[in-house]
Subunit: 182 residues, 2 copies
């Protein structure tokens, strides 16, 4: 029994961990000070709720993927070559938590993207001014972080597809939720 | 050959279509006029970019699900009882487009949610004022739309899991991407 596609999945997990940590650092250490009309104004990632949320979500997602990576490597070395149908509970867990992780990371990224767009364009109807013409470097750094975040999301979506593949191919194509007899 | 779990999936698709249309209508027809300090101010869903985007995304997602529902029903009545391995391309298509649909709808919902939170709380550091204390009914209607949207997203995520199940159970549990011999 070949246990799924462990090498691809482990490599993708490693990449997504690195991207998530990079994104969290880019957002977390982003701050800029500028003097506007006699006043020193400092912006950091705390000015909008979406950015601290993004840092926390990225940290938790990276920690989860690291945990999966470690457990996967120890699990593989222990059970290599043997196959039990009881593994399906492990696969179900992996699949569900992978799905939850990718959806939450994706939601946090989209929220941060939308707030960044608002900082970039402002909202005239609500008398909200734009800020990116004043804090350009800050905005570029957030942009880089969002790019890393979306790359990590794409990798995590691919990982969760592999988890789905590993889980559902255990089931019979003829009957609903009946295990294959191998 | 039982063709997946068509009845559950069709029912879920119908529910998600209704929820998506309801959400799009709630956002699209949301507007409120109020006089603030001698000025008549009108807010509609166009004041922030995320809301028109949400309406378009909801409409497209509902149209896609409707298309799937119609094609699924005609497909089922035509091929009932027969099974060919060439069906796997249909399943691959369904799986991939379902995934894309749910991710895009989810991203649009999260973006709209984040902007709504901003309208509700404002952002002191950026001198953005809050508006929901003035346009309460408008905000409640957007809230209801977001609730419908997230419910539709959950249903669509479940639909895409069923698509994954229908696709991947055609494959062998022993070899990578090799079809089962049935």
């Amino acid at each position: 029994m070949e246990l799924g596609t462990p090498k691809i999945q482990n490599f993708l997990r490693l990449c997504s961990i690195l991207l998530l940590i990079l994104a969290a650092c880019l957002v977390g250490f982003d701050s800029q000070t500028k003097s506007i009309v006699y006043l020193e104004k400092k912006v950091s990632y705390k000015v909008l709720q979406a950015f601290p949320t993004l840092v926390y979500v990225d940290a938790v997602a990276a920690a989860y993927n690291l945990l999966q990576l470690i457990s996967r490597i120890s699990f593989l070395s222990e059970y290599k070559g043997s196959f039990k149908s009881s593994y399906r509970y492990v696969y179900w867990c992996c699949y569900l938590v992978d799905q939850i992780a990718v959806y939450i990371t994706f939601a946090a990224s989209s929220a941060a993207l939308e707030q960044s767009v608002l900082v970039l364009t402002g909202a005239e109807a609500l008398y909200w001014m734009k800020w990116c013409n004043k804090f350009t470097r800050f905005c570029f750094q957030i942009g880089g972080a969002l790019f890393c975040n979306y790359a990590a999301c794409a990798l995590m979506a691919f990982i969760s597809s592999i988890s789905a593949f590993n889980l559902f191919r255990l089931y019979s194509p003829k009957h609903f939720l009946v295990l294959k007899t191998t």
